[in-house]
Protein backbone atom coordinates (compact mmCIF):
# COMPACT_ATOMS: atom_id res chain seq x y z
CA UNK A 1 0.00 0.00 0.00
CA UNK A 2 1.05 3.54 -0.62
CA UNK A 3 2.74 4.94 2.46
CA UNK A 4 3.35 8.51 1.39
CA UNK A 5 2.00 11.04 3.89
CA UNK A 6 -0.73 12.42 1.65
CA UNK A 7 -2.13 8.98 0.86
CA UNK A 8 -2.19 8.17 4.56
CA UNK A 9 -4.00 11.42 5.25
CA UNK A 10 -6.54 10.83 2.50
CA UNK A 11 -7.20 7.25 3.46
CA UNK A 12 -7.54 8.28 7.11
CA UNK A 13 -10.08 10.87 6.02
CA UNK A 14 -11.91 8.45 3.75
CA UNK A 15 -13.93 7.34 6.77
CA UNK A 16 -16.92 9.53 7.74
CA UNK A 17 -16.52 9.06 11.50
CA UNK A 18 -12.87 10.08 11.34
CA UNK A 19 -13.73 13.11 9.25
CA UNK A 20 -16.30 14.06 11.84
CA UNK A 21 -13.72 13.65 14.60
CA UNK A 22 -11.26 15.86 12.73
CA UNK A 23 -13.94 18.52 12.32
CA UNK A 24 -14.58 18.41 16.07
CA UNK A 25 -10.88 18.58 16.91
CA UNK A 26 -10.51 21.61 14.68
CA UNK A 27 -12.62 23.45 17.23
CA UNK A 28 -10.40 22.38 20.13
CA UNK A 29 -8.54 19.54 21.83
CA UNK A 30 -10.69 16.77 23.27
CA UNK A 31 -10.25 13.59 25.29
CA UNK A 32 -11.15 10.18 23.88
CA UNK A 33 -14.26 10.12 26.05
CA UNK A 34 -15.33 13.53 24.82
CA UNK A 35 -14.81 12.40 21.26
CA UNK A 36 -16.78 9.21 21.79
CA UNK A 37 -19.76 10.98 23.39
CA UNK A 38 -21.70 12.18 20.34
CA UNK A 39 -21.18 9.14 18.12
CA UNK A 40 -23.05 6.33 19.88
CA UNK A 41 -19.95 4.16 19.52
CA UNK A 42 -17.62 2.64 22.08
CA UNK A 43 -14.50 4.32 23.38
CA UNK A 44 -12.59 1.37 21.90
CA UNK A 45 -13.95 2.11 18.44
CA UNK A 46 -13.00 5.76 18.80
CA UNK A 47 -9.50 4.75 19.95
CA UNK A 48 -9.14 2.66 16.82
CA UNK A 49 -10.10 5.60 14.65
CA UNK A 50 -7.68 7.80 16.58
CA UNK A 51 -4.87 5.36 15.93
CA UNK A 52 -5.45 5.70 12.19
CA UNK A 53 -5.52 9.50 12.46
CA UNK A 54 -2.36 9.40 14.57
CA UNK A 55 -0.53 7.19 12.09
CA UNK A 56 -1.45 9.64 9.36
CA UNK A 57 0.03 12.46 11.46
CA UNK A 58 -3.30 14.23 11.67
CA UNK A 59 -3.57 14.14 15.44
CA UNK A 60 -1.22 13.75 18.38
CA UNK A 61 -1.63 12.84 22.03
CA UNK A 62 0.43 13.78 25.04
CA UNK A 63 2.08 10.99 27.02
CA UNK A 64 -0.01 10.99 30.20
CA UNK A 65 -2.28 7.96 29.98
CA UNK A 66 -5.97 8.44 30.74
CA UNK A 67 -6.98 12.05 30.30
CA UNK A 68 -4.53 12.90 27.56
CA UNK A 69 -6.28 15.19 25.14
CA UNK A 70 -6.18 14.63 21.40
CA UNK A 71 -4.72 17.51 19.44
CA UNK A 72 -5.24 18.23 15.77
CA UNK A 73 -1.92 18.77 14.00
CA UNK A 74 -1.62 22.06 12.16
CA UNK A 75 -0.75 20.47 8.86
CA UNK A 76 -4.27 19.18 8.52
CA UNK A 77 -5.15 22.75 7.76
CA UNK A 78 -3.30 22.42 4.49
CA UNK A 79 -6.19 20.22 3.56
CA UNK A 80 -8.59 23.00 4.38
CA UNK A 81 -8.07 24.53 0.97
CA UNK A 82 -9.66 21.43 -0.48
CA UNK A 83 -12.30 21.39 2.20
CA UNK A 84 -13.23 24.97 1.45
CA UNK A 85 -14.84 23.58 -1.68
CA UNK A 86 -17.10 21.57 0.53
CA UNK A 87 -17.92 24.63 2.60
CA UNK A 88 -18.77 26.45 -0.61
CA UNK A 89 -21.19 23.72 -1.60
CA UNK A 90 -22.92 24.01 1.74
CA UNK A 91 -23.30 27.74 1.24
CA UNK A 92 -24.66 27.00 -2.22
CA UNK A 93 -27.19 24.55 -0.77
CA UNK A 94 -28.29 27.15 1.75
CA UNK A 95 -28.69 29.81 -0.91
CA UNK A 96 -30.70 27.50 -3.15
CA UNK A 97 -33.14 27.20 -0.29
CA UNK A 98 -33.13 31.00 -0.15
CA UNK A 99 -33.81 31.07 -3.93
CA UNK A 100 -36.84 28.87 -3.36
CA UNK A 101 -38.04 31.00 -0.47
CA UNK A 102 -37.63 34.24 -2.42
CA UNK A 103 -39.86 32.84 -5.17
CA UNK A 104 -42.67 32.26 -2.70
CA UNK A 105 -42.50 35.74 -1.19
CA UNK A 106 -44.96 38.44 -2.31
CA UNK A 107 -43.58 40.97 -4.80
CA UNK A 108 -44.24 44.08 -2.74
CA UNK A 109 -42.83 43.12 0.63
CA UNK A 110 -41.29 45.44 3.16
CA UNK A 111 -37.56 44.75 3.64
CA UNK A 112 -37.99 44.50 7.41
CA UNK A 113 -40.89 42.92 9.27
CA UNK A 114 -43.15 45.04 11.42
CA UNK A 115 -41.92 44.63 14.99
CA UNK A 116 -44.17 42.39 17.01
CA UNK A 117 -45.64 43.77 20.19
CA UNK A 118 -44.27 42.23 23.36
CA UNK A 119 -40.70 41.79 24.40
CA UNK A 120 -38.23 39.40 22.81
CA UNK A 121 -36.60 36.91 25.09
Amino acid sequence: MAADPLSLVFSALADPTRRDMVARLAVGDATVNELAAPYHVTVQAVSKHLKVLEDAGLVSRSREAQRRPVHLEAKVFDLMTKWIERYRRQAEERYRRLDDLLRTMPEAIEPTPTPKTGAQT
Binding site: I84, R86, Q90, L98, D99, L101, R103
Partner: protein, 160 residues
Protein backbone atom coordinates in the same frame (compact mmCIF):
# COMPACT_ATOMS: atom_id res chain seq x y z
CA UNK B 1 -35.74 34.39 -14.31
CA UNK B 2 -36.35 31.22 -12.37
CA UNK B 3 -33.14 29.34 -12.99
CA UNK B 4 -30.71 29.14 -10.14
CA UNK B 5 -28.00 27.11 -11.79
CA UNK B 6 -26.28 30.19 -13.19
CA UNK B 7 -25.80 31.71 -9.72
CA UNK B 8 -23.14 29.45 -8.32
CA UNK B 9 -21.86 30.53 -4.93
CA UNK B 10 -18.37 31.97 -5.08
CA UNK B 11 -16.21 31.66 -1.97
CA UNK B 12 -12.72 32.86 -1.24
CA UNK B 13 -10.53 32.46 1.82
CA UNK B 14 -8.09 35.34 1.89
CA UNK B 15 -4.44 34.36 2.28
CA UNK B 16 -3.39 37.57 4.06
CA UNK B 17 -6.20 38.21 6.52
CA UNK B 18 -8.36 35.58 8.25
CA UNK B 19 -11.40 36.26 6.15
CA UNK B 20 -13.92 34.22 4.21
CA UNK B 21 -15.93 35.92 1.49
CA UNK B 22 -19.05 34.53 -0.15
CA UNK B 23 -20.59 36.09 -3.26
CA UNK B 24 -23.94 34.98 -4.66
CA UNK B 25 -26.55 36.52 -6.93
CA UNK B 26 -30.31 36.18 -6.53
CA UNK B 27 -33.25 36.65 -8.89
CA UNK B 28 -35.02 38.87 -6.40
CA UNK B 29 -34.79 42.55 -5.49
CA UNK B 30 -32.78 43.61 -2.42
CA UNK B 31 -35.93 44.24 -0.36
CA UNK B 32 -36.91 40.58 -0.59
CA UNK B 33 -33.43 39.23 0.06
CA UNK B 34 -33.11 41.60 3.01
CA UNK B 35 -36.47 40.50 4.41
CA UNK B 36 -35.36 36.86 4.15
CA UNK B 37 -32.43 37.80 6.42
CA UNK B 38 -34.37 39.87 8.96
CA UNK B 39 -37.66 38.02 9.49
CA UNK B 40 -37.03 35.06 11.81
CA UNK B 41 -39.96 33.17 10.30
CA UNK B 42 -38.20 33.31 6.95
CA UNK B 43 -34.64 32.91 8.27
CA UNK B 44 -35.53 29.59 9.84
CA UNK B 45 -36.60 28.27 6.43
CA UNK B 46 -33.22 28.50 4.75
CA UNK B 47 -30.33 29.30 7.12
CA UNK B 48 -29.90 26.04 9.01
CA UNK B 49 -28.19 22.96 7.62
CA UNK B 50 -30.70 20.84 5.76
CA UNK B 51 -30.93 17.91 8.12
CA UNK B 52 -30.64 19.84 11.34
CA UNK B 53 -33.63 21.39 12.93
CA UNK B 54 -33.01 25.10 13.34
CA UNK B 55 -34.54 26.50 16.50
CA UNK B 56 -34.53 30.25 17.04
CA UNK B 57 -34.16 31.40 20.62
CA UNK B 58 -34.52 35.05 19.59
CA UNK B 59 -33.76 36.97 16.43
CA UNK B 60 -34.03 40.72 16.78
CA UNK B 61 -32.49 41.96 13.55
CA UNK B 62 -32.12 45.70 14.05
CA UNK B 63 -29.20 47.94 14.99
CA UNK B 64 -28.31 47.08 18.59
CA UNK B 65 -30.37 43.88 18.53
CA UNK B 66 -29.14 40.34 19.08
CA UNK B 67 -29.85 36.78 18.10
CA UNK B 68 -29.39 33.25 19.28
CA UNK B 69 -30.32 30.05 17.50
CA UNK B 70 -29.65 26.35 17.80
CA UNK B 71 -29.02 23.58 15.33
CA UNK B 72 -30.44 20.36 16.71
CA UNK B 73 -29.32 16.99 15.39
CA UNK B 74 -29.59 13.55 16.99
CA UNK B 75 -30.17 15.15 20.37
CA UNK B 76 -27.05 17.30 20.05
CA UNK B 77 -27.53 21.03 20.19
CA UNK B 78 -25.14 23.50 18.62
CA UNK B 79 -25.77 27.07 19.73
CA UNK B 80 -24.84 30.25 17.89
CA UNK B 81 -25.30 33.82 19.01
CA UNK B 82 -24.25 37.37 18.29
CA UNK B 83 -25.22 41.02 18.09
CA UNK B 84 -26.50 43.08 15.21
CA UNK B 85 -24.09 45.99 15.09
CA UNK B 86 -25.61 47.83 12.13
CA UNK B 87 -28.75 46.98 10.18
CA UNK B 88 -29.59 49.26 7.26
CA UNK B 89 -32.51 48.35 5.06
CA UNK B 90 -32.26 46.99 2.42
CA UNK B 91 -28.51 46.89 1.91
CA UNK B 92 -26.38 46.17 4.96
CA UNK B 93 -26.20 43.92 8.01
CA UNK B 94 -23.13 43.93 10.24
CA UNK B 95 -23.21 41.38 13.03
CA UNK B 96 -21.02 39.29 15.28
CA UNK B 97 -21.16 35.49 15.24
CA UNK B 98 -20.05 33.03 17.89
CA UNK B 99 -20.29 29.26 17.81
CA UNK B 100 -21.02 28.37 21.43
CA UNK B 101 -18.80 25.29 21.21
CA UNK B 102 -15.91 27.75 20.84
CA UNK B 103 -17.17 30.66 22.94
CA UNK B 104 -13.95 32.72 22.96
CA UNK B 105 -14.03 32.95 19.18
CA UNK B 106 -16.02 35.63 17.44
CA UNK B 107 -16.43 36.47 13.79
CA UNK B 108 -17.35 39.88 12.45
CA UNK B 109 -19.77 39.40 9.59
CA UNK B 110 -20.78 41.90 6.96
CA UNK B 111 -23.64 41.29 4.57
CA UNK B 112 -23.92 43.68 1.63
CA UNK B 113 -26.80 43.57 -0.85
CA UNK B 114 -26.28 45.34 -4.16
CA UNK B 115 -29.16 46.16 -6.46
CA UNK B 116 -28.25 44.84 -9.89
CA UNK B 117 -31.47 46.13 -11.48
CA UNK B 118 -34.08 43.96 -13.22
CA UNK B 119 -35.10 42.58 -9.84
CA UNK B 120 -31.71 41.06 -9.14
CA UNK B 121 -29.38 41.31 -6.16
CA UNK B 122 -25.74 40.53 -5.52
CA UNK B 123 -25.05 39.33 -1.98
CA UNK B 124 -21.54 39.63 -0.56
CA UNK B 125 -21.01 38.08 2.87
CA UNK B 126 -17.66 38.37 4.59
CA UNK B 127 -16.61 36.77 7.87
CA UNK B 128 -13.54 38.15 9.57
CA UNK B 129 -12.21 36.14 12.50
CA UNK B 130 -9.40 36.91 14.92
CA UNK B 131 -6.83 34.34 13.77
CA UNK B 132 -6.11 32.01 10.90
CA UNK B 133 -6.59 29.12 13.28
CA UNK B 134 -9.97 30.57 14.16
CA UNK B 135 -10.83 30.99 10.50
CA UNK B 136 -9.98 27.39 9.77
CA UNK B 137 -11.89 26.24 12.82
CA UNK B 138 -14.80 28.33 11.60
CA UNK B 139 -14.64 26.61 8.24
CA UNK B 140 -14.34 23.28 9.99
CA UNK B 141 -17.39 23.97 12.15
CA UNK B 142 -19.31 24.84 9.02
CA UNK B 143 -18.19 21.52 7.64
CA UNK B 144 -19.26 19.78 10.80
CA UNK B 145 -22.78 21.11 10.37
CA UNK B 146 -23.14 19.32 7.12
CA UNK B 147 -20.79 16.44 7.68
CA UNK B 148 -23.51 13.83 7.94
CA UNK B 149 -25.34 15.00 4.87
CA UNK B 150 -22.42 15.59 2.56
CA UNK B 151 -19.99 12.68 2.92
CA UNK B 152 -20.25 11.82 -0.75
CA UNK B 153 -19.28 15.34 -1.69
CA UNK B 154 -16.13 15.33 0.37
CA UNK B 155 -15.39 11.95 -1.09
CA UNK B 156 -15.57 13.51 -4.54
CA UNK B 157 -13.25 16.33 -3.50
CA UNK B 158 -10.77 13.97 -1.87
CA UNK B 159 -10.84 11.70 -4.91
CA UNK B 160 -9.44 14.42 -7.16
Amino acid sequence: MTTTSTHETEITADADVPLVRIIREFDAPPAKVFRAHTDPELVVQWLGPRRHEMRIDHYDCRTGGSYRYLHVSDGNEFGFHGCFHEVRSPELIIQTFTFEGFPDGVALERLVLEDLGDGRTRLTATSLVDSFEGRDAFIASGMEDGVRESYERLDAVLAR
